[in-house]
């Protein structure tokens, strides 16, 4: 029993991390049709800079973590916005090329991070409470999982509210349907593209800082590890569907946990089989719209 609770809640925590990466991917794909391979790099650079600043201010305290998170979010947003502005925008509507540019960017940046921060993981400190556990139904749940889940819920709620309640959200939702018409109403839709990249980057940035808490280290490959799962989650959830991504994140992570534990460490294989199965049975994903 306690093992199942443990698997479920830690699965939820991992799913939260997947979602933080996938939310940005999904949003960017939904609005702009860009499959962003550089998303993992947004995450990594945010984790590195968040850590660099956080540890200088106050290492291993809540205050330091908060600073790291703020820096991570800001860095993610800025780097993503710059990427959109300098690279993606030039290839307006040429989706394959846009994806290719992000492939190039991810190759180059991972190499650059290795050059700057080295190839070894750098172990990070964190607030005392996060290293402890809380007992639920006999299972000792590491506290950082709760932080992850809370952040993911806040991000999900925040993005949904943003899309539903703000004018920019309105523009983005309209842009997903028909970009030209949004322009024809006198709105600079390109600005909302940059904004969407920035929001996606910010979520990835927060994800990066939290990932460094979860894994206990930062490294140049932090993002690449998560990216592949974020892709899978995005596709299973239905490209462009935020709630789909959320549901799929949790499903995939929990499935992975159980398979890793009970089926001889086959978590990755099971996820891959699940992806293939979902796409073959329901090609547009769990919650994807009809293209």
């Amino acid at each position: 029993m306690s093992t199942i609770v443990l698997l479920l809640i830690t699965g939820l925590g991992l799913g939260a991390l997947y979602f933080l990466v996938a939310s940005g991917l999904s949003l960017i794909y939904g609005l702009m049709g860009v499959l962003n391979f550089a998303h993992g790099s947004f995450l990594t650079i945010s984790a590195f800079l968040g850590w660099e600043v956080g540890r200088r201010v106050s290492d291993g305290t809540w205050w330091g973590l908060a600073i790291s998170a703020i820096v991570g979010i800001a860095v993610g947003a800025i780097v993503a916005a710059l990427t959109e502005y300098l690279l993606i925008r030039r290839l307006y509507e040429r989706h394959i090329e846009q994806a290719l540019v992000t492939v190039g960017l991810s190759l180059a940046t991972v190499a650059l991070f290795e050059g700057i921060w080295g190839t070894d993981p750098i172990y990070t400190a964190r607030p005392e409470w996060l290293t402890q556990t809380t007992e639920i139904l006999g299972a000792k749940i590491p506290n950082d999982r709760f932080l992850l889940i809370a952040c993911a819920v806040i991000v999900l709620g925040g993005i949904v509210l943003f899309l539903k309640r703000t004018r920019y959200g309105l523009i983005i939702r309209a842009g997903v349907e028909n970009r030209q018409m949004v322009t024809a109403l006198g709105i600079d839709v390109r600005r909302s593209f940059t904004l969407v990249f920035a929001i996606g980057g910010a979520a990835a940035g927060l994800g990066g800082v939290l990932a460094s808490v979860y894994y206990g280290y930062v490294s140049a490959h932090l993002g690449s590890v998560l990216l592949i799962f974020a892709f899978i989650v995005t596709v299973i959830g239905g490209l462009g569907s935020l709630t789909g991504a959320a549901v799929a994140s949790v499903l995939v992570a929990v499935l992975q946990q159980f398979a890793n534990y009970y089926l001889g460490g086959t978590g990755d294989l099971v996820v891959v089989v699940a992806l293939a199965a979902v796409l073959l049975i329901r090609p547009r994903g769990l919650m994807g719209k009809i293209a």
Partner: protein
């Protein structure tokens, strides 16, 4: 005397190791150790009996394809000795090249047991997995009737360690169980639970790579250390911080850390390293030994590969870790190993020697027998 023919001609030696890529740090330690060893073995001349050692370094990038291509290039240019690499996958590929082309190969820190006795042209300069495992075994006294759980990643390294424990401790009457975790798994909490419920006498952890931090945290959070003694290998300096809370509670087996040996050669190595701005680390002795072996091969073996093999087989010499023997049968490097612990040093952790294990106590069985 075969060497007399071209006395004075330089000997071409190709060193392949990671200068970039995931194992670049190991490569750097190996390289620095090698320079120190060369200096030590040639008394600072860089020559052997008046012959120049022409040493060329290549970057294997942690990629076997690159390594093989470079090796072929070197071999094609007439290099007679090849040495290096920390990656077992690359070492096996290079061993293959050595055999195909009949040249001498002295592998680097790569730990795979398979390299020992792989072919007659291949030697090694470091320890092998078996010696790690055997050192772990020294923590439980007489293994008979004890239960040992191996907690490892489900990859070649982890599987090798499990097999090693089964061979070493299983044969002495211990019950050995493996808890192997998928290499890409990121969540170790449930496995920590599994370790406790198995209630073993010893948990042997064989873990490499970035996820070790999260793994140790999980063990510590779930209270594994309160329930069972835990042994693992102490890695290079960069990993001292990876054990977090658990640092003081783990028993470490160790191949080498700076200051562990206290030999005259070690003092010479540390002096040379520090002069070059480096610090002694896990794989410094491997480079040092490689240099000593190369010098020996050139000095005693002349220009033929068979001569060099003869010169190395069964050779006993003093090195950083003390007296070392290159076993004639399978080229295993018989050497002492260490037990260590981590102690707090300000904000950081540093290793402290607990015990030195005799070379013969941890000598692997002869490969292929």
């Amino acid at each position: 005397d075969p060497a007399a023919g071209d006395a004075g001609a330089p000997v071409k030696i190709a060193m392949l190791t990671s200068q970039t890529g995931p194992l670049a740090a190991y490569g750097a330690a190996y390289t620095a150790g090698f320079e120190a060893g060369l200096d030590y073995a040639t008394d600072g001349t860089g020559t052997v009996d008046g012959r120049e050692l022409e040493i060329e370094w290549g970057d294997d990038q942690g990629n076997p394809d690159t390594a093989v291509a470079k090796a072929k290039d070197f071999i094609g240019q007439g290099y007679q000795i090849l040495a290096g690499t920390a990656a077992s996958g690359i070492a096996t590929a290079l061993a293959e090249q050595a055999a195909q082309n009949e040249i001498l190969y002295i592998s680097g820190p790569a730990a795979a047991d398979a390299i020992t006795g792989i072919n007659e042209y291949t030697f090694r300069s470091g320890r092998q997995t078996f010696q790690d495992v055997a050192t772990a075994g020294t923590f439980i006294g007489d293994p008979a009737g004890k239960k040992v759980v191996v907690f490892a990643q489900d990859n070649a390294f982890g599987q090798g360690n499990l097999a090693g424990v089964e061979a070493v401790l299983g044969s002495k009457g211990a019950t050995v169980e493996g808890v192997l975790v998928a290499e890409d798994a990121t969540e170790f909490t449930p496995f920590a639970q599994q370790l406790i419920s198995a209630s073993p006498d010893l948990v042997f952890v064989a873990w490499a790579g970035a996820s070790s931090g999260a793994m140790w945290t999980a063990l510590s959070q779930q209270g594994v250390f309160d329930a069972v003694p835990v042994v693992t290998g102490l890695g290079d300096v960069a990993t001292y911080g990876a054990y977090g809370e658990a640092s003081a509670e783990i028993s470490f087996l160790n191949h080498y850390f700076g200051g562990a040996a206290g030999t005259e050669a070690e003092a010479a190595m540390i002096e040379h390293l520090e002069a070059a701005g480096a610090t002694p680390d896990l794989f410094s002795p491997d480079g040092f030994v490689a240099a000593q072996m190369i010098v020996q091969a050139v000095r005693e073996g002349g220009d033929t590969v068979d001569g060099m093999i003869d010169a190395l087989e069964g050779w006993t010499f003093d090195s950083v870790k003390g007296e070392i023997t290159v076993r004639a049968e399978d080229h295993a490097v018989i050497q002492p190993m260490y037990q260590a612990k981590l102690v707090q040093d300000g904000d950081a952790w540093k290793p402290e020697l607990v015990d030195t294990i005799d070379a013969d106590d941890v000598a692997p069985p002869v490969a292929g027998e």
